[in-house]
């Protein structure tokens, strides 16, 4: 298989923008505040490279994730750092937690539900745009070092090929709280998504 070119990565980033844009809108509706998003940061490499770029950190995060199946294989992740996880949970459950250690089950459920809605909005938008049948698993959540939770997701997707990763930051305007969205495509799916994109864009 040929390597994906810079131009093609740009086209894939457009698609990710559509998905992330919908996540941002969903988030904005949910909390009643404006949400900004960054242009996707793109990384491609073997699982250990991606792990060492993103997960070479022992920082504790809340990681809500689900697998994407159907016409493509991949995963979507919504990551909150500790401070912002507490901020979002407090906003959603009207609590007054100081630390992630104060979290009750309902706080994690609330964040998991945020993930479900945001990631679900992204997948639906992607499926519609690409005219693909995309399914997703139920959301799963981990509170631990980012690298530790990434391991398991990465090896689920691919073991010896090259993955494609897009990262988008979502920031709540007035609250300065940020969530990170990660879109991961396995090598075969990157090609499929690319073909569909080119078809759609008439490129």
């Amino acid at each position: 298989m040929k390597k994906i070119t810079e131009e093609q990565i740009g086209q894939l980033a457009e698609v990710v923008n559509i998905g992330a844009g919908n996540a941002a809108t969903a988030m904005s509706h949910m909390i009643g505040k404006g949400v900004d998003m960054t242009v996707p940061f793109i990384h491609t490499g073997a699982i250990e490279d991606i792990h060492n770029v993103l997960g070479d950190t022992n920082e504790v995060v809340v990681n809500v994730f689900f697998r994407i199946h159907g016409d493509m294989e991949g995963a979507m992740l919504l990551i909150f750092n500790k401070k912002d996880a507490v901020g979002f949970a407090n906003m959603l459950t009207k609590s007054n937690h100081k630390d992630i250690k104060d979290f009750q089950d309902e706080d994690l459920s609330a964040l998991q539900e945020v993930g479900n809605i945001l990631l679900g909005a992204s997948v639906t938008a992607l499926g519609k745009f690409l005219d693909m049948n995309l399914l997703h698993s139920i959301p799963d959540v981990s509170v631990d070092m980012l690298g530790a939770s990434l391991d398991e997701i990465l090896v689920e997707l691919d073991t010896e090929g090259s993955l494609l990763l897009f990262e988008v930051d979502l920031t709540v305007k007035e609250a300065a709280k940020t969530g990170k969205l990660y879109f991961l495509f396995d090598p075969k799916s990157s090609k499929t998504v690319l073909e569909k994109t080119q078809e759609k864009l008439g490129a």
Partner: protein, 156 residues
């Protein structure tokens, strides 16, 4: 004070110096420590998967990404530094299942990593003298080669 060497995912390091070898963010991965307690030679690897699937690429060198190959690399490294490969000890850390639903009903890749490490260490006649494995939390490991002491920590 001894210096500290950080081992990233899919990497390994072997030394005969008074050094600390550390690795973090161990989830379903497994950190393997092998050392010669008499000669104070030892190393650590941070492997992601039990073994390679595509055997066809024989020309591709061994990598610490896989449990079996990382054990080979550690043994080779210890031998090169003059360690006695007949009297080695090993400790393993990690192999957690970080997500409830991922990998469905089976025990997940973490469990497979632990099993692979135990099986392969046994095949190579290396005694497993300690482990902190399984569960659903991430780990950090710090190995003092000279003292032969492995410290395991978590953030949760």
């Amino acid at each position: 004070m001894s210096s500290t060497v950080n081992v990233k995912t899919a990497e390994y390091y072997v030394t005969d110096k008074e050094e600390i070898i550390e690795t973090g963010s161990i989830g379903s991965c497994v950190a393997i420590v092998i050392f010669d307690p008499a000669a104070h030679i030892g190393g650590m690897a941070h492997a992601m998967l039990p073994e390679r699937h595509t055997r066809s690429q024989a020309s591709v060198g061994k990598t610490a990404k896989f449990v079996d190959e990382s054990i080979d690399l550690l043994l080779e490294g210890i031998r090169e530094l003059g360690g006695d490969v007949k009297h080695l000890n090993a400790k393993i850390v990690g192999g957690a299942k970080m997500f409830k639903h991922l990998s469905g009903d089976n025990k997940g890749i973490g469990f497979q990593n632990i099993e692979a490490a135990k099986k392969y260490l046994k095949a190579k006649h290396v005694a497993l003298t300690g482990e902190d494995t399984g569960g659903s939390h991430g780990r950090l490991a710090e190995f003092n080669v000279h003292a032969g002491i492995l410290k395991v920590d978590s953030k949760i």
